[in-house]
Symmetry: D3
Amino acid sequence: MVEEEVSMVDITSKPPVYREASVRGLIKLKPQTINLIREGKIKKGNPFETAKIAGILAAKNTSQIIPLCHPIPLTHVDIQTRIVDTEKIEVFTTVKTEAKTGVEMEALTATATALLTIFDMVKQYEKDEEGQYPATEILSLKVESKTKKSSS
Amino acid sequence: MVEEEVSMVDITSKPPVYREASVRGLIKLKPQTINLIREGKIKKGNPFETAKIAGILAAKNTSQIIPLCHPIPLTHVDIQTRIVDTEKIEVFTTVKTEAKTGVEMEALTATATALLTIFDMVKQYEKDEEGQYPATEILSLKVESKTKKSSS
Amino acid sequence: MVEEEVSMVDITSKPPVYREASVRGLIKLKPQTINLIREGKIKKGNPFETAKIAGILAAKNTSQIIPLCHPIPLTHVDIQTRIVDTEKIEVFTTVKTEAKTGVEMEALTATATALLTIFDMVKQYEKDEEGQYPATEILSLKVESKTKKSSS
Amino acid sequence: MVEEEVSMVDITSKPPVYREASVRGLIKLKPQTINLIREGKIKKGNPFETAKIAGILAAKNTSQIIPLCHPIPLTHVDIQTRIVDTEKIEVFTTVKTEAKTGVEMEALTATATALLTIFDMVKQYEKDEEGQYPATEILSLKVESKTKKSSS
Amino acid sequence: MVEEEVSMVDITSKPPVYREASVRGLIKLKPQTINLIREGKIKKGNPFETAKIAGILAAKNTSQIIPLCHPIPLTHVDIQTRIVDTEKIEVFTTVKTEAKTGVEMEALTATATALLTIFDMVKQYEKDEEGQYPATEILSLKVESKTKKSSS
Amino acid sequence: MVEEEVSMVDITSKPPVYREASVRGLIKLKPQTINLIREGKIKKGNPFETAKIAGILAAKNTSQIIPLCHPIPLTHVDIQTRIVDTEKIEVFTTVKTEAKTGVEMEALTATATALLTIFDMVKQYEKDEEGQYPATEILSLKVESKTKKSSS
């Protein structure tokens, strides 16, 4: 049997303080798809707005998606999207709360969900003739910064 | 007002056929963390088993995480994890079903969730002195193959 | 691309205070159906008790149903149902909390869900010969009052 | 104790056939708010796109929101929004499936959620000086049509 | 690292057939509480109706509660409650479907949730002076029968 | 119509204090199955680790599973599993929080879910030749202790 037993960190005695985390993510798409996004011609709807909504909902549901995350009363989720160049889109998320533990997993979950939603919104343009996705790839997902500040 | 209106693809008239999708994902961790995983010494529990369970649950919940995905009765989800080298871990997911539409978003959502869960399980070892994560990064998430076969 | 970017209101710096919201809703049913409810003869079960339970569960899940709502630790949800006249039923909901933002969306979501559940419980009696619902209609859903009180 | 016992309809022996349901809903807002929507100036984001996404997600989650609804593999959800006049917005939803039971509850749940989301997106403009909503009201929610067709 | 790797059973190639499972559960309460239930005097509401609704919802959500369960389109859930004697209540659940795998976990999850809900509805009467529950206990949860029948 | 109306307890005015609850549960399995668990040979994966993860997730989701439970920000969930003898496994759960109401329902829900997950993980070894489960039974689920302490 395993030595490592699954266990949630006990945060009972930690004081609730202001916490913030920012995460950056990057997805590679075909240049033609980036053009269609730029021109507002994606048939399933605006990929950026849909991605933001999906990401915000996922941030709030993190403690049901990542097994050992504590439930945290998020006070703000901000998701920005940006066309970086002819084949890359960036998602940048900031999550804020006043809680006993940090919110980097919430920001990561929101950003991953936003990137996956962009993939879903444009996947019909990314497929090749055999129905494969040779060009599409999430290239990076990284915590940019984490802040903790006592409220006093 | 936007030109692009959000709309779900209508799959009513498509016949249900056998469908499969495989997705590969990669996360970069510190070599010390990889060693701790190898030795079974991660304090929060086995990161690979926890990641697999989180990924399987997420695959089954994809139509609530990605807004325009159809609900699909998955018949199999398999998630494999592997230490690639001194600083990379790979997650490889295969999803199967008999349905009117493909399961690449389910495989992507499962893999992303498994990678995020690995991050969460080891994050205490990845933090530097200032509580930041300079080394940790999801490096890739990509559909490896997608198959469709009429059941006859 | 859209000018309006989806964004959650930042409530981080607001103090948690006592908050209450009341919502009234009205559904029109056929007089025969109202009679069956009065006599306790609805085959699928008591529509009022089922509606209250569904409404309470929905109130607690509002931040997953309405995309930009903050998660709020509700401390009370009360749902009252009443036969108004021969063809109308009223649902009246009060939600209470101590939080950084108001709970009118929680009370609205609970009331809408309770009304929809009443519809579902009695829909077999509301159908005409062609399976249509010419008489059934949710007639109103309105915030009756909203209160905010500093706890001191 | 109650005579009416809660019970789910047994649909085991019904054949799966094509099913469709359409629902119309109406919300009353202040003329100034309608103008802001028309001009694309709602600060929280585009209310129509957000409402559509929330409605589609709710349609797919109906069997968890309305207690006695069966889980149904929806194959299409379409939500249209329209400014009716200087103070009314209409939401019109069509849901399709191939299933053993109808989808009117799914179309109703989607439409109610879309209307509530519009409310949430514009509520800052609807409040009066005392923080009340004297003008805002969901005016109607009604099944427009229900269709059942054997697939042969 | 563990030898046993978490893996979902692959049911892709199994034909969908009629399936049924029945589960019996038993909870022990104080005789005074049983009397209050009998007289319809439980302050939080009818424990049997609330338990049935909670159980039906849980049955439909089993694949999100039990990690390796497949999503199954349930066609019927029936939950019966019965006062067995002066200190025991029985919950008996039958679940039906037409699917590639059995529904005993769905029937077990529904029954467990119904028993827990009964506990919650009456817990104020079960507490002793020190706030403990010396008498209350779920005594049994057992699959009574499982049926599989090819539909031809 | 019912006398007993479903109603959530109003906890608005209660102060948040430290709360803890412990629950013990017991499941009976066949001796051969217990041996397979001991030897780490369960084909679907480690039943104890999977049960712990399922239990922790369920604890955090209690207010959506048990209708009248308040949402509570859990600060710790600990689940221990133990082979008691040749045919019994014990699950022991402790839940902690700082909240306006107790967490015994959270500890009960976690334990029940862990026991059900163990059942699911080993059910292929528990079936007899006719696909029935004559030996398998959840034998007990009981609150061991409940603590409340003002934080000052």
